[in-house]
């Protein structure tokens, strides 16, 4: 009776048992990589050949060409303008759409179409939307602006609807109990609860529109993207590097600014 019962052997053997499902997932991923690489004809020789090419390419990029600053500045400022205008209109449009899509405040006949509209805005890449707008309104900044407005609505309206769905309904009830109209309920009970998060979304979207505005230019939507694409087609690789550095710098500064704005509004 004085000896302690021996521990079952199994519980001492391995504190970290082998999980066969996890292992199967890893093996499956490995097999898929081999299959897909073969399917896409990604071979090692091609990669190595490309690396030599890449060396020559990089050599042509350095040193960056700082002589065409007026061209660079024209493209950059247009990109900034596109991003700012698209964010402002995107946010203004997202307010009613997001509100209509919030299931705790709105009836089903309002949320369903609003949600479908948001899903439609989200499902196409901004570049594809830009192609369609270039056809509709011609080359230039306006096509880029419209494409980014669509992208902004798809993103912010969704987040805004989710933010409204998470609010506390007590304040809504309290304001309603005073006999307030619908708009009063929105401005006195809903907006104060979501304003801080909403500024967060808006600054994030400005950041994201800035990134995307460098891209819509490739299909004719104006901005630094068109400058970049032209430089590529002219094999002006040293100017390409200048543009890339400028884009990275602007987005870096934008990220710092966005963080600063978020802290101000916390």
């Amino acid at each position: 009776m004085n000896s302690a019962p021996a521990l079952p052997a199994a519980s001492r053997e391995n504190p970290f048992p082998v999980r066969w499902t996890t292992r199967a997932v890893w093996i499956g991923l490995g097999l898929y990589v081999i299959y897909a690489a073969a399917r896409l004809e990604l071979t090692w020789e091609r990669f190595v050949f490309g690396l030599g090419n890449g060396g020559r390419f990089l050599a042509r990029m350095v040193p960056p060409d700082f002589t065409k600053m007026d061209l660079l500045w024209k493209g950059l400022s247009e990109s900034l303008e596109i991003a700012v205008i698209a964010t402002v209109f995107g946010v203004i449009l997202s307010l009613p759409v997001g509100l209509a899509a919030s299931r705790n405040l709105m009836p089903v006949w309002a949320t369903w179409p609003a949600r479908a509209f948001i899903a439609l805005c989200r499902s196409f890449h901004p570049v594809i939307v830009a192609i369609l707008f270039v056809k509709a309104v011609g080359f230039g900044a306006i096509a880029g602006i419209l494409a980014l407005i669509v992208a902004s609505v798809g993103f912010i309206a969704k987040l805004f609807a989710e933010a409204i769905e998470e609010i506390s309904l007590k304040q809504v009830e309290a304001v309603r109990a005073t006999g307030a109209s619908f708009m009063n309920v929105i401005f006195m009970a809903v907006v104060p609860q979501v304003l801080a998060r909403f500024t967060g979304f808006a600054t994030y979207q400005l950041d994201s529109n800035l990134r995307n505005s460098t891209m819509v230019g490739i299909v004719g939507g104006g901005g630094i993207g068109s400058t970049l694409f032209t430089a590529f087609q002219k094999f002006d690789y040293d100017f390409v590097l200048t543009i890339l550095l400028a884009i990275i710098a602007i987005i870096f500064v934008g990220e710092i600014l966005a963080g600063w704005i978020r802290r101000t509004f916390q």
């Binding site: 890449h125 509709a136 011609g138 890339l244």
Partner: protein, 265 residues
């Protein structure tokens, strides 16, 4: 006097000044942008006719184009997106570990890793694709690498943040038992961040399906090539087929991701 001093105010004067500056700058930036942006109003007048024309040319859709060139390109797009995501996971894991301050407590290395992540995110996938097409020539290799390099920043940032939120307990226990650092990582950090890791991977795969659909516009393979061909030839009925295919695949990918996510998390 005392009552006056104790009056409650939501913001300090400094906070109010900051907010006011922000609003002022925002309005000024918007005004300046609207006034200087290059918009040709004449182009806008016939926009409604152009849109009607666009839809008229798209309808009826040219379904024969799907088996001819779209299907093959669609499969290629799916492989580019999946392979690119897997490659980015492999590349982002070490960078994410280096960026986590609690795993690698050297500030210089953290900063370097963060710089890599920001650069990867700042350059758009289309721009990455342009670069890789110039290096490796047109085709799926350039597309896969573009997707992978664009995703490193996203995956690495989120993975690094997940690592920083990991609890100290298991790490200390294993370190105290004398475990070497690979074991500490595999048995203390990895089990804690594994759900976050798979969730990030799925999220990025969903985004990459969307992004890989347009890479073909710059010659990096996939369904974008079929789109580009149809656009250049102004065959809008074929463009419509490609767009509808992309739409269907994107919706399908979102459904798959939501289902898997609710299963494993």
């Amino acid at each position: 006097m005392i009552a006056d001093q104790r009056r409650w105010e939501r913001f300090t004067p400094q906070e109010r000044l900051l907010r006011f500056t922000f609003y002022l700058v925002a309005v000024a930036a918007f005004m300046v942008s609207v006034q200087t942006v290059d918009v040709i109003p004449e182009f806008l007048y016939d926009a409604p006719e152009q849109v009607v024309d666009l839809f008229a040319r798209m309808w009826p859709m040219d379904w024969k184009y799907y088996p001819k060139s779209v299907h093959e390109a669609l499969i290629e797009t799916l492989h580019i997106a999946s392979l690119g995501t897997i490659l980015s996971l492999a590349l982002a894991l070490p960078v994410g570990i280096l960026a986590a301050r609690n795993v690698v407590p050297v500030a210089a290395i953290n900063q370097l890793a963060k710089l890599i992540l920001v650069s990867s995110r700042s350059v758009n996938s289309l721009v990455w694709a342009l670069l890789f097409v110039a290096i490796f020539g047109p085709g799926a290799l350039a597309g896969t690498l573009a997707i992978a390099f664009r995703s490193i920043g996203f995956v690495g940032k989120l993975f690094g943040e997940a690592l920083e939120e990991a609890q100290r307990g298991p790490v200390e226990a294993l370190t105290a038992a004398g475990a070497p650092w690979p074991s500490v990582f595999l048995k203390a950090y990895w089990p804690q961040v594994q759900p976050a890791f798979w969730s990030i991977a799925l999220f990025r795969w969903d985004i990459n399906i969307r992004e890989s659909a347009v890479l073909g516009l710059v010659g990096a393979g996939g369904i974008g090539v079929a789109l580009d061909t149809a656009l250049t030839l102004l065959y809008w009925d074929q463009v419509a087929v490609v767009l509808l295919t992309i739409f269907a695949v994107v919706i399908l990918a979102e459904i798959i991701v939501t289902t898997i996510r609710s299963r494993i998390i």
